[in-house]
Symmetry: C2
Subunit: 210 residues, 2 copies
């Protein structure tokens, strides 16, 4: 990893700016903040300065002065977020926290959640929204939890088989169809596990919601 | 169709209540409004009364008085929205407009967009958000449009092949991978078409967004 970057590395995308204390705290305690293009405008309002800006640079307020690393990439084949993740991978950064990746446009929310499937195995991404921490896994994974924590599971392929422990609605080598079957589950205690034959998105709620 | 229901039929789900004039107008001009459980609380604030309420009825304000059709279903295997769509199908209603299906919880947004794939061929659903009208198609479909209209395409299966006419970024028997490739396209004129070998979600923007 380039010595000029400090951990933890946070990517701020151009969806809804976080309002929940948990993602806000991740932003404030970041060692390196990478902004995708227009996301820098929201950050400027908090008087925070990113270390890196990546995108086609069409959405940045022209009055914005910036002396950090600016990576302009006008390739229309991928999104600003994909450009940022490719850059992260190229710089051998193995773990990032992704904020501002959902909200506003539903097509971007859908695509950005699916990005976790695409970068699975290349970069470890923790996508944090105002409601959930979303991660992508394959094989067996255990999670620290609390009783009543909201848990939702979403597989990319219908053929993926999933087993769980310590969830309210248990799965045993089951396919998750229709999608709702994996939604609105709950943790039963201080830990739960998910084992999956293919990549699976695990949504963990920040606090209990009824 | 049961004679007591009037067209058009609108289902209001329990995501973000619409704020854009387009979905709000759909709600106000509905012949029949079906609310999923807690969505009725938002509707009551507008002094509108639903004709049907479907769900487990745990989220309705106990002070709420209702003399319409109330369908309580506590099956944990499917969501309130799926219960509502099953009921619609059972009552031989062929077309519905779906509002309030996105926003807040990202897992619900993802699952509710995927519901269009599940009910494709059973009920014709027009999902309208503050940003997009989302529909699911297979085969060739033409759309009335305007130059610069935002168009995003999202297939369920990677193997689905897509061709388009009159879009900025054309597809010719192409698979949409990675997901971003189908996002942020634009209509070039007063009509465009999408032909798809498998079910595809078509997002059409209400107005031009930069």
């Amino acid at each position: 990893m380039n010595k000029s970057f400090k951990f933890p590395v946070v990517i701020l995308a151009n969806g809804s700016f976080p309002s929940n204390p948990l993602p806000l705290q991740q932003l404030e305690s970041a060692g390196t903040v990478i902004c995708t293009d227009g996301a820098v405008n929201s950050l400027a309002q908090l008087k925070l300065i990113p270390h890196v800006i990546i995108g086609d640079m069409d959405s940045i307020d022209p009055r914005y002065e910036f002396n950090g690393i600016k990576i302009q990439d006008k390739n229309p084949e991928n999104s600003d977020l994909e450009k940022a993740l490719d850059w992260v991978e190229m710089n051998d950064i193995k773990e990032v926290t992704l904020l501002g990746a959902t909200g506003f446009r539903e097509d971007m929310t859908l695509a950005n959640l699916y990005i976790l499937f695409d970068y699975y195995g290349k970069v470890s991404i923790k996508l944090i929204t105002d409601h959930y921490t979303v991660t992508c896994h394959k094989g067996k994974q255990s999670f620290t939890s609390f009783p009543g924590e909201d848990v939702s599971l979403f597989t990319q392929e219908v053929s993926t088989l999933v087993s769980t422990t310590a969830l309210k609605y248990q799965l045993e080598d089951s396919a998750i169809v229709p999608p709702q079957k994996g939604i609105s589950n709950q943790s039963m205690g201080s830990t739960f596990s998910v084992e999956s034959s293919g990549p699976i998105l695990v949504f963990r709620g920040h606090t209990q919601e009824d």
